[in-house]
């Protein structure tokens, strides 16, 4: 077996998420590819909680669909997660026998799981550790026993985790683990399902989530200042950055609100430092005025927006891709602002470094449109070679340019040299007001037109950045998929499955979601007669944006739904199959009137 999706749920006190963390750390250490997502009720502490862990010997693109293994410490809690923990006929269900539910009377409507085990989990914990609080450790033992998972690494991890609290606690947990493992051995699966061994050296891969990855990438890119305000699910960016950036001579300012956060970040950029802010939907709305200021003042700035269900508070802990309009368009005036979207924890690194490079090179704000799924899921990441990246810095004026400095000089590429306080001769007034080349205020219509043209022109090269697009499959394929953000991982899995089935389909995943690279899409669409833009939002915002810039073939439609209703690879595959059948029907000739 090379792929295993485990879902577990319990109450917060059961420590089910903590068990998931132990499992994914151990599995990553051993060399598996793994991915973990968490989901919680809205209680701050002690509510229901769940996690999904997917383990595999090959790269994992998404958290997976139906569970291979479902673990319920308590059925009420398990059921609250509905579609996030889907049980199917292939699922092995393990649950706490103390719940009193009979194995043939599980509260799962319309499914007959493949195998069901009612395990006295609490009882085993009490026997092993002297307290039923160690239920999560018993669960780890069960998983190790049944699926041959990372035994030694889990034990090592438990030791590392509990040793601070004393050897006795370590011993107690080891005992609980062993009892779980032993129970599994004594009650073997009908068809044994041990995981294949991973093929790499232990300890070579990384494990992190998208928020930490973005913060680390920002540090790597040379960002030295963060101004922001906490908001789920983006806060970890600020927290991580705050732990680290001081060591590099930088600072984090937790501000009084999002406006102050982006204001301080923009101030730092004006002063010559690379800087950033991060937020989520409601905060993005507050930041929009100063994003406009950054555009007209032509200052580099990176804004991370971790999307959650909206509008307003919406579904603050669930992923959605509904901020694209806001990211692309939330500005007054004629503004073009690049928006990049990572699709995984791994490429969050690339996208973040790229965002800083674009911001610096073109002296513009750049939005990184992450989403809760990418931001908060943990994922195994292959080692990233830092030598792959060039780090760009802003074009500062030369000594000659400083003798007669013109901050907004019209240049061939639209980018003018940018000075900062402390630089003699570079003195200018940055402003939200329209200005001439010397940065002096103006109300001239001619200058306004010219400056708008300059601000648009400098970003034109982005449209030709093929490296910001991932296009796979037969270039002539009539069937197409387009997808962005975390849901691109789901779409890619469906794409791969479809190709295996022999469907002639191609896939486009953009990192650059705005501005729309018209030529790249035009090329892509040239062979396409049918397809789907797959998005986790009610409206299908990328689909709609594409339609306003390029001729989207009539057979290409949005496949989208609101957040917290995860689209599964199987859903996309089913769509593709139907579309492919329709394509094979002879085209009806419509008489053309002239």
């Amino acid at each position: 077996m090379d792929d295993l999706v485990i879902g577990m749920a319990g109450s917060g006190g059961d420590g089910i998420v903590s068990a998931g963390e132990s499992l994914i750390s151990a599995a990553t250490y051993e060399g598996y590819y793994a991915m973990m997502t968490k989901s919680f009720g809205s209680q701050v502490r002690g509510g229901e909680s769940s996690c999904r862990v997917r383990l595999s010997t090959h790269r994992v693109l998404n958290p997976g669909g139906a569970l291979d293994v479902a673990i319920a410490l308590n059925w009420d809690d398990f059921l609250k997660f509905g579609a996030e923990l889907p049980v199917a006929g292939t699922t092995i269900v393990i649950y706490e026998s103390k719940t009193g539910v009979a194995p043939d009377a599980l509260p799962l409507v319309g499914v007959a799981p493949r195998e069901v085990f009612a395990v006295p989990i609490g009882e085993l914990a009490k026997q092993g550790a002297g307290s039923d609080k160690a239920k999560n450790t018993v669960v780890l033992g069960l998983l190790a026993g049944w699926f041959g998972l990372a035994r030694t690494s889990i034990l090592r991890g438990l030791r590392k985790k509990f040793i601070k609290k004393g050897e006795a606690l370590v011993a107690a947990n080891e005992k609980a683990f062993q009892l779980g493992e032993q129970y599994a051995k004594e009650h073997p699966l009908a068809t044994p399902r041990a995981m294949d061994a991973p093929g790499v050296q232990p300890g070579s891969r990384l494990l992190t989530d998208g928020n930490d990855m973005a913060a680390a990438a920002a540090l790597f890119a040379g960002c030295e200042f963060f101004g922001g305000y906490p908001i789920t699910p983006s806060t970890e960016v600020m927290q991580f950055f705050n732990r680290e950036v001081w060591k590099y001579g930088g600072a984090v300012l937790q501000c009084e609100d999002e406006i102050a956060g982006i204001g301080a970040a923009l101030g730092a950029s004006f002063a010559g430092k690379k800087s950033m802010t991060s937020t989520s939907g409601p905060g993005l709305s507050l930041k929009s005025e100063i994003m406009g200021l950054a555009s007209i003042a032509e200052l580099p700035l990176v804004i991370i927006d971790v999307q959650r269900g909206g509008p307003s508070t919406g579904l603050p802990t669930k992923s959605e891709q509904s901020d694209l309009f806001a990211a692309a368009y939330s500005a007054h005036g004629d503004v073009l602002r690049p928006v990049l979207a990572p699709t995984s924890v791994a490429d969050t690194f690339d996208v973040t470094v790229e965002a800083f490079n674009i911001a610096e090179r073109y002296q513009t704000p750049v939005i990184i449109l992450s989403d809760q799924e990418v931001a908060q899921r943990k994922e195994t990441v292959d080692p990233i070679d830092p030598a792959r990246f060039t780090i760009e810095t802003r074009r500062v004026p030369t000594a000659a340019e400083l003798t007669d400095y013109q901050r907004y000089r019209f240049t061939d590429d639209g980018v003018s040299p940018l000075s900062h306080p402390g630089m003699q001769g570079g003195n200018y007034q940055g402003a939200g007001i329209e200005h001439n080349e010397r940065a002096n205020p103006t109300a001239s219509g001619k200058l306004h037109e010219q400056m708008n043209a300059k601000r648009f022109k400098k970003l034109a090269p982005l449209q030709r950045r093929k490296d910001l697009f991932h296009i796979d499959g037969n270039p002539k394929a009539p069937l197409a998929l387009i997808s962005w953000g975390s849901i691109a991982g789901v779409t890619r899995e469906a794409y791969e499955a479809a190709r295996k089935e022999g469907l002639d389909v191609k896939l486009l995943v953009p990192w650059l979601v705005y501005p729309v690279a018209e030529e790249i899409y035009r090329d892509f669409f040239s062979s396409v007669r049918s397809g789907f833009v797959v998005e986790q939002s009610y409206q299908g915002q990328l689909y709609r944006i594409l339609r306003s810039y390029v001729e989207v073939p009539a057979g290409v439609v949005a496949f989208c739904r609101s957040g917290a209703n995860p689209i599964q690879p199987g859903d996309v595959l089913a769509k593709l199959r139907t579309a492919s059948l329709t394509l094979q029907e002879p085209a009806v000739q419509v008489p053309v009137e002239d």
Binding site: Y29, G263, P386, N427, A431
Partner: protein, 295 residues
Amino acid sequence: MPTSVAALAAYQSKDFKSDLKPIWCPGCGDFGVVQAIYRALAAIGRAPHDIAFVSGIGCSSRIPGYTTAYGFNSVHGRALPIAQGIKLANPDLLVLVASGDGDGFSIGGGHVPHAVRRNIDITYIVMDNQIYGLTKGQLSPTSPKGLKTVTSEYGSLEEPVNPLMYMLAYGAGFVGQGTPADMAGLADVIEQATRYPGFSFVNVQSPCVTFGEDDDQVKDHRANMKSLASLGHDPTDRLAAMGLAQGYGTDLHTGIFYKNPNPPPTFDAQMRVRQAELAPKALPRERILDMFVQR
């Protein structure tokens, strides 16, 4: 011409005056304020390129453009956060902030207590004309109760805020007031505020002659202002300062209300200490991702 004779001080007022011609209405109080700022900056003697001068939006917020410092005429109400970011990004800079009463105490009012409590070493100069100038005479948070404006046709029903009391109550280490009726005195307060190591605030009663209450405000100031020094006020006495600050709106006290005799360490100073302490723990940038390797 004699102007080219070698000067004694490193900088003169003219070194801080830009070529832009102010678009303020003739008679506006802000003309005197910018003169006082030139003078204070000349006395302090930092090079114009080492000064960042941030403002929001309003007639008053045009002021950075009339100086030769690096200016940032940002958006309405947000000068303080931007200035704080600048100072933290480069604490060697001298950072000044200018606002109007609407910019500073209405739309930007939420930023004020936080700027004060953070105690980042910046100087906040508010040109308080008790009216919205740039947008043509609407009610401002410092307009006196009963004031009739285009948005309070029958007289305002609200009490004004008292900027001096605000600042003292928030815990500002330096609170002063001045008026362009006494440009020299104003320059002096601004200079002292700028020299104060920490967040400092200067309220400038800077009349709007176009939409303000009456035409002779500066003359009235000249006649009625009382310097705090002449009243024998001890600027290290915060409670006494609060007592005098109550007079805002009726009395025109000029000079220093409060100056903390023992300035606490600023945010920026503490930041530098922390950066130095933690620097040895920095991984080389190309090894940052090692943090995530499972061992």
